[in-house]
């Protein structure tokens, strides 16, 4: 049963990775100078107050004991209590997760659409000026990171030609009838297109900023692999059947060319999700990343731990999903 063994091995390395992340984040943030408890009390607080509160958060015990308490809590679904808000970490983090997921998925969709269009157009008109222009645009989009694209978009479409919102997730004065935090998704389901439009207008620029570098990578890789595929025998054979260039690209080449791109897009998607941290900050978007930065600034140790761990879980999950998707889409593996 080789497939089962590979799967087990993958799961095992995933567990090792997550454990490693947990250890590192736990011990790194405890090197932070300054007592987080002292920071949250009013200036006149006594030593005794600090000690009492420290005991309440378990911060008076030895590090290894603290780690053990935290890990056993996490395994039971208890991520501790946020120091700055005094609410359970799990609830806070899960409350923000939908915003970040929606942003990431929207960015991914944009990247696939933009990058796919660039690759297809470049392949269709390969060897000409159009392909040259696409290459130059790709190169630029690739070298400049999401942070700068975000700023450029803010400047262009937020200030000089204000068409989109540059901060927040939704206009604050709106009444939200939602029962989950998946605003984008729920507004669609409830057929509240007015709300949906408002949410999209808020998400559009941060998502685009995240999408541009990934779109360039998809565009480049896919175009290269499409062009290679276009020289293969089965594509030539399809041409003799009477198919035009565009249909040959879409029917014969695209699927086979997309497979190698897919594996790379998996890793790149985790980079994109990592990018939400600063992009959410830039656009004051109320997601996980924005909360994470606040948590660092507030020295909210339990919250930081929870968020980093959640990110790590998301990253490893994405990689796992991509591997599975690859196996499903590749007929050679599917039947192996």
């Amino acid at each position: 049963m080789p497939i089962l063994r590979i799967l087990l091995l993958r799961l095992l390395t995933t567990v090792v990775t997550l454990a490693g992340v947990a250890v590192i984040v736990f011990f790194v943030i405890r090197v932070v100078p300054g007592n987080p408890i002292a920071m949250m009390l009013p200036p006149g607080a006594t030593e005794a107050d600090i000690a009492r509160l420290s005991a309440l958060y378990g911060l008076d015990k030895p590090l290894v004991t603290q780690f053990w308490i935290w890990v056993s809590g996490v395994l039971q679904g208890d991520f501790g209590t946020s120091i700055s808000t005094r609410q359970p970490v799990l609830g806070l983090v899960l409350g923000r997760l939908p915003a970040t997921l929606e942003l990431s998925v929207m960015a991914l969709v944009m990247a696939v659409v933009l990058g796919g269009a660039a690759a297809l157009t470049g392949t269709r008109y390969r060897g000409g000026r159009t392909e040259g222009a696409i290459d130059v645009a790709n190169g630029m989009a690739l070298s400049v990171p999401d942070f700068l694209w975000g700023l450029i978009l803010i400047l262009l479409f937020g200030v000089l030609m204000p068409v989109f919102h540059i901060s927040g997730r939704v206009t604050p004065s709106l009444d939200l009838p939602f029962s989950t935090n998946f605003y984008l998704f729920e507004s669609l389901i409830r057929l509240r297109f007015d709300l949906w439009a408002d949410i999209v207008a808020h998400m559009f620029m941060p998502a685009l900023a995240l999408a541009i570098p990934l779109a360039a990578i998809i565009g480049q890789l896919l175009k290269q692999s499409l062009k290679e595929t276009m020289n293969l025998d089965y594509v030539t054979l399809a041409r003799t059947k009477g198919y035009g260039e565009t249909r040959v690209i879409l029917r014969e080449a695209l699927r086979n060319a997309a497979l190698p791109t897919l594996t790379l897009v998996g890793v790149q998607f985790t980079f994109l999700i990592g990018g939400t941290v600063i992009i959410e900050r830039l656009f004051s978007y109320e997601g996980l990343g924005n909360m994470a930065i606040d948590a660092v600034i507030n020295r909210d140790l339990p919250l930081i731990q929870g968020i980093v761990l959640l990110f790590a879980v998301i990253f490893t999950a994405v990689n796992l999903i991509v591997d599975l998707l690859y196996a499903v889409l590749n007929p050679r593996l599917r039947h192996a």
Partner: protein, 283 residues
């Protein structure tokens, strides 16, 4: 024969020179900042707040790119900001490169348990969101130039290690390495004399990219107010101020943004250009 490929190569050559030119200009600006900056970058003048750049009406003579909300000269701050940016780029880039490439070479060439450990570490590092990780590290280390450099090295070594490991592995499987070993060369000697020269082009390309990334990381950290002390002008700090006063004085954001954009682009174009030079197939 002047075909498409020649043209492409010429244009690539042009890009290489433009990038090198811009980076040289930046280096000069950084080195000569006290002499070439028209004003004191820290001098505030509340009567001269938010003056527009020279081509707009209402511009104040001598303040070429305008002033920020505290009346500080934007151009002078840009020039002084180049010092932090380039220091971070060169120092952090180089150290990251050395650490990452060494670990990658060791993992890819020695294989076995060394590879096991380093690969697991890379896996763990890849599961961290890098920006959050760097913010966390700065919070731990405290703000300052040294902390930024350490944070970049700690976070970005995997960029080198991953690629170099794969390349070293590929090179290690080739015949010439086997023959060198047969000829009685030691492992470390083979690594340095046979593998390293072949992986070097890749390393150099990654290094230029890393320098661009380091500049961005510094800007991001200043943006969240975690960079070096808030007085010294940094591009990221200027961006942060520009973002805050974007509706009143957009030029405060545009100036550092354009500078950062060109710098990052130049570093990566330099890398691309060098890659083409090194690549015998393309040459």
């Amino acid at each position: 024969m002047l075909d498409g490929r020649t043209l492409v190569r010429r244009r690539a050559g042009l890009r290489l020179w433009l990038s090198a030119g811009w980076l040289t200009l930046l280096c000069l600006a950084a080195l000569l900042a006290p002499w070439v900056a028209p004003k004191d970058p820290l001098a505030q003048d509340l009567f001269l707040g938010r003056m527009p750049p020279f081509w707009m009406t209402g511009a104040e003579p001598g303040y070429w790119l305008g002033t920020d909300s505290l009346g500080r000269d934007v151009l002078s701050r840009l020039i002084h900001g180049a010092r932090v940016a380039l220091t971070v780029a060169l120092v952090a880039g180089t150290i990251t490169c050395i650490v990452g490439a060494t670990l990658g070479l060791l993992a890819g060439f020695l294989r076995g348990w060394v590879d096991m450990v380093i690969s697991r570490l890379i896996d763990i590092w890849m599961a961290f969101p890098p920006v959050l990780f760097s913010i966390l590290l700065i919070a731990v280390l405290g703000p300052g130039l040294m902390s930024i450099i350490i944070a970049i090295v700690v976070i970005d070594w995997t960029r080198f290690a991953r690629v170099v490991r794969a390349e070293a592995m590929a090179q290690g499987a080739m015949d010439y390495v086997a023959s060198a070993r047969v000829a009685g060369r030691g492992r470390i000697s083979t690594l340095i004399r046979e593998i390293l020269p072949n992986v070097l082009p890749t390393i150099v390309v990654l290094l230029t990219l890393e320098m661009g990334i380091a500049v961005i990381v510094e800007a991001i950290l200043s943006f969240v107010n975690l960079s070096i002390s808030t007085d010294d002008p940094t591009w990221g700090g200027m961006i942060s101020e520009g973002r805050a006063s974007i509706h009143q004085a957009w030029w405060v954001l545009v100036a550092p943004l354009v500078t950062l954009f060109l710098t990052v682009l130049s570093f990566s174009q330099l890398g691309e250009g060098l890659k083409d030079r090194f690549d015998p197939v393309l040459r």
